[in-house]
């Protein structure tokens, strides 16, 4: 799989990640990032849409465990992704292609790193196959 550069979508919670950093700078380091008010707002359809459009992985960065501004949106996100992973697996898509990471990074210095780590993991899985995309379209 030499030369394979995964296409990723990254959702990041505004209350936990990068609110003190320079947004343009973070955007220049991390392509395809969607800052979102709460990780709990990330819909399963957003994730599936990303796969349909050709994403190889979706990373959701939420607040650290006890620090969700909306009480437990980060846990909602985890729960939702867990369920979605089961569905994805049933259609032959590796569950590892969706990941929730809970932490806090006000300056946004760790976002690029987190995306890189995720990218490495996705690289090992290879690109999301064409057949799988067909399946996810059905889903």
């Amino acid at each position: 799989m030499a030369g394979f550069e995964p296409k990723l979508v990254c959702f990041s919670c505004k209350f936990g990640w990068g609110y003190l950093g320079d947004e343009a700078k973070i955007d220049s380091q991390v392509k395809n990032r969607v800052p979102i008010i709460c990780s709990g707002k990330v819909d399963a359809t957003h994730i599936l849409d990303a796969f349909k459009a050709g994403a190889d992985g979706v990373l959701i960065l939420g607040c650290s465990e006890d620090n969700c501004h909306y009480q437990d949106g980060n846990l909602e996100a985890q729960k939702r992704v867990y369920l979605l992973q089961k569905v994805l697996a049933a259609y032959g898509i590796e569950p590892e292609r969706v990941k929730v990471e809970l932490s806090t990074d006000p300056e946004g210095k760790k976002i690029a790193e987190a995306v890189k780590r995720f990218s490495e993991a996705i690289k090992k899985l290879g690109p999301l196959g064409k057949a799988e995309v067909e399946v996810s379209r059905v889903a």
């Binding site: 296409k7 979508v9 505004k14 209350f15 609110y19 003190l20 392509k31 395809n32 990032r33 969607v34 800052p35 979102i36 008010i37 709460c38 709990g40 707002k41 990330v42 819909d43 399963a44 359809t45 957003h46 849409d49 990303a50 459009a53 050709g54 994403a55 006890d66 620090n67 501004h69 909306y70 009480q71 437990d72 949106g73 846990l75 909602e76 939702r80 006000p106 300056e107």
Partner: protein, 598 residues
């Protein structure tokens, strides 16, 4: 680093009927506690970087409350009603404000004057304490020209009586000096209205169109037993707590003033405890004799704050509860002891009506007796200016604070009813509003009565313990330096993060002010799609999503007053029936998704 805005969408509008977090309802001036807690929680961890944010938060608070950095030392009323109280401890809002004060007090000296055009009438304000100055500040902002007549040579009124170990005089002075500079308030010092020719008539002749009387309670209350004044209050060695604290604030009492003296303090209020702890620091061996019970849960409990009682106790001050003082015994013209029957009940259905067991008497002897049973207003002045009714009570409308005897006179603060600093500030605010209405010929009452409904605590899995408050150990605090350590930046951020933001977004808008959100999105439910399953009700942490019976079937709805526009219910809805109106997050998502194919 974010920059806050407070105009446009980010402006917090006041409403007639409003759901608010309980802390903001408890605060007499309804400070925007939640909003500023959220902003504090988003400060950078680096002090130099955080300063920019701290000043912005301070500037925002200052608009409504120019005394906020003093509140950070001595108020904290809001903490009594914090929803978190039942979950391990209130958010330490007072210390959060003191944290702001640690930076903001210095900045005050450089703060730019408010840009105000003063083209309206002259208003005389009698008394330069929190009530009078709050009125002057609010009138100034409305374009009036207030002049404060202060009988002493310093502003702050009764705040000067707060001992320095609780409120440093430097903070008080900076706050006062800058307040009159920033709001361009004219002050006449050593001007005691009521003395000589300085009367209401003179003020009217000098062109003042309204008068706010906020003279406070300048005199100590004498000790009485039943209806009688207790004899012996003129003995040598007997003084009043009010006088004692006044002399202390002027630096007239040396550090050994009470060295090796047995000091007896009569009183159970906060002032009595201020006196006791001050006396202890001046070397005294102190006993507090209070009429009230030591049982915190009793209707007759000692009224002083728990922290004051704890502080006194730690400092080796003896507290003798449930004792009245029937007699002051003297010997050779000097105070010797007091005779104290046991008090069996303080309040009954008629109010304050103490009852005693005279068979249970106790004599408490000492060298110095400090009577601290309250303060009283300058009645002679009120009488002379005709502000009292036939029964000798202040004739004033408690809602508008307008005198019922003289329509150009308004009365508020301690002179009307003794209370906390912030209660006097509230009255100053109300008086300013009334004076504005009076001078503009507007209705005095219309649209003023606001109702609040407290918001319950949102659902959460886990709750965090409060930041530990650190006091200098008792043996090391026999001085007048602050005995409580302030919060560090890190602690302040963590403490502010504990705030679960109970209140609705309407009264907060912190996220809008720093650009996280554009506006507060309304949730719309497509009733055709909604299956009435109730997953949204389960997902919502604010009891905002609910189910209604409509045309014979269940559909979900959203109470916008409670909604936080977080979108969790939208994501949770299995049938895509819920949307956030005007939310443009999906545009960015679509953009990102579209770029994937490229």
């Amino acid at each position: 680093m974010w920059q806050t805005k407070s105009s446009g969408e980010a402006r917090v509008e006041e409403a007639m009927k409003q759901l608010l977090p309980p802390c903001q309802i408890k605060c007499p001036i309804n400070e925007d506690i939640q909003r500023t807690n959220v902003l504090l929680s988003l400060l950078p961890q680096n002090v130099d970087e955080a300063k920019f944010g701290i000043i912005q938060i301070g500037d925002y608070l200052y608009e409504k409350n120019p005394f906020f950095n003093i509140c950070g030392y001595i108020c904290g009323i809001c903490e009594l009603e914090c929803n978190y109280k039942a979950k391990g401890g209130s958010i330490r809002r007072r210390l959060l404000k003191r944290f702001l004060s640690d930076y903001y007090s210095d900045y005050l000296n450089q703060k730019e004057e408010l840009s105000i055009v003063k083209d309206k009438e002259n208003v005389a304000i009698i008394g330069g304490g929190p009530g009078g100055l709050m009125c002057a500040y609010n009138l100034s902002k409305k374009g009036y020209r207030p002049t404060v007549f202060e009988s002493s040579d310093r502003l702050g009124g009764a705040l000067w009586l707060v001992p320095e170990y609780r409120l440093p005089q430097a903070i008080l002075k900076t706050t006062m000096d800058n307040l009159i500079r920033l709001a361009n308030i004219d002050v006449k010092y050593n001007a005691r209205v009521g003395d000589g020719k300085l009367t209401f008539e003179r003020l009217r002749n000098d062109g003042y169109r309204a008068i706010f009387v906020a003279k406070g309670t300048p005199y100590p209350r004498v000790l009485t037993f039943g209806t009688d004044v207790v004899e012996g209050q003129n003995l040598s060695g007997v003084m009043y707590g009010h006088t004692f604290l006044y002399e202390m604030s002027h630096g007239n009492l040396g550090p050994d003033y009470l060295q090796e003296k047995r000091v007896v303090v009569i009183g159970g209020g906060n002032v009595a405890f201020d006196v006791a702890r001050t006396a202890r620091r001046l070397g005294g061996d102190v006993t507090v004799v209070a009429l009230e019970s030591e049982d915190k849960n009793s209707k007759d409990a000692i009224p002083a704050d728990e922290e004051e009682v704890r502080g006194a106790w730690e400092e080796d001050i003896r507290i003798v509860p449930s004792r009245g003082v029937r007699r002051i015994v003297g010997e050779h013209g000097r105070f010797k002891s007091i005779e104290c029957p046991r008090c069996i009940s303080v309040f009954d259905e008629t109010g304050f009506n103490p009852k005693f067991d005279y068979d249970d008497l106790r004599n408490i002897s000492g060298d110095v007796l400090i009577i601290t049973v309250g303060q009283v207003p300058d009645r002679a002045f009120l009488q002379k200016e005709g502000l009292l009714d036939e029964k000798g009570r202040l004739a004033v409308d408690p809602f508008t604070l307008q005198s019922l005897r003289n329509p150009m006179v308004f009365i508020g603060g301690d002179v009307r009813r003794i209370g906390f600093m912030v209660e006097a500030m509230r009255e100053g605010m109300e008086a300013a509003e009334s004076i504005h209405r009076y001078l503009r010929g507007l209705d005095m009452r219309e649209g003023r009565k606001r109702q609040f409904e407290p918001f319950p605590i949102p659902y959460r899995d886990t709750y965090k313990p409060p930041t530990e408050v650190i006091w200098v150990p008792p043996e090391k605090r026999r001085h007048f330096q602050l005995f409580e350590r302030g919060l560090t930046l890190h602690e302040a951020i963590e403490e502010a993060k504990r705030c679960v933001t109970c209140g609705p977004c309407m009264s907060c808008k912190a996220c809008i002010s720093i650009g996280f959100e554009k506006s507060l999105y309304a949730v719309e439910v497509d009733e055709q799609r909604c299956s009435g399953c109730g997953i949204c009700v389960y997902a919502c942490n604010y009891s905002s999503a609910n189910l209604l019976m409509k045309d014979g079937r269940l559909v979900s709805a959203t109470d916008m007053f409670r909604c936080k526009s977080c979108g969790i219910c939208v994501a949770a809805c299995p049938s895509g029936a819920r949307t956030l109106v005007d939310d443009n997050t999906h545009e960015r998502i679509d953009e990102v998704i579209a770029s994937l194919g490229k």
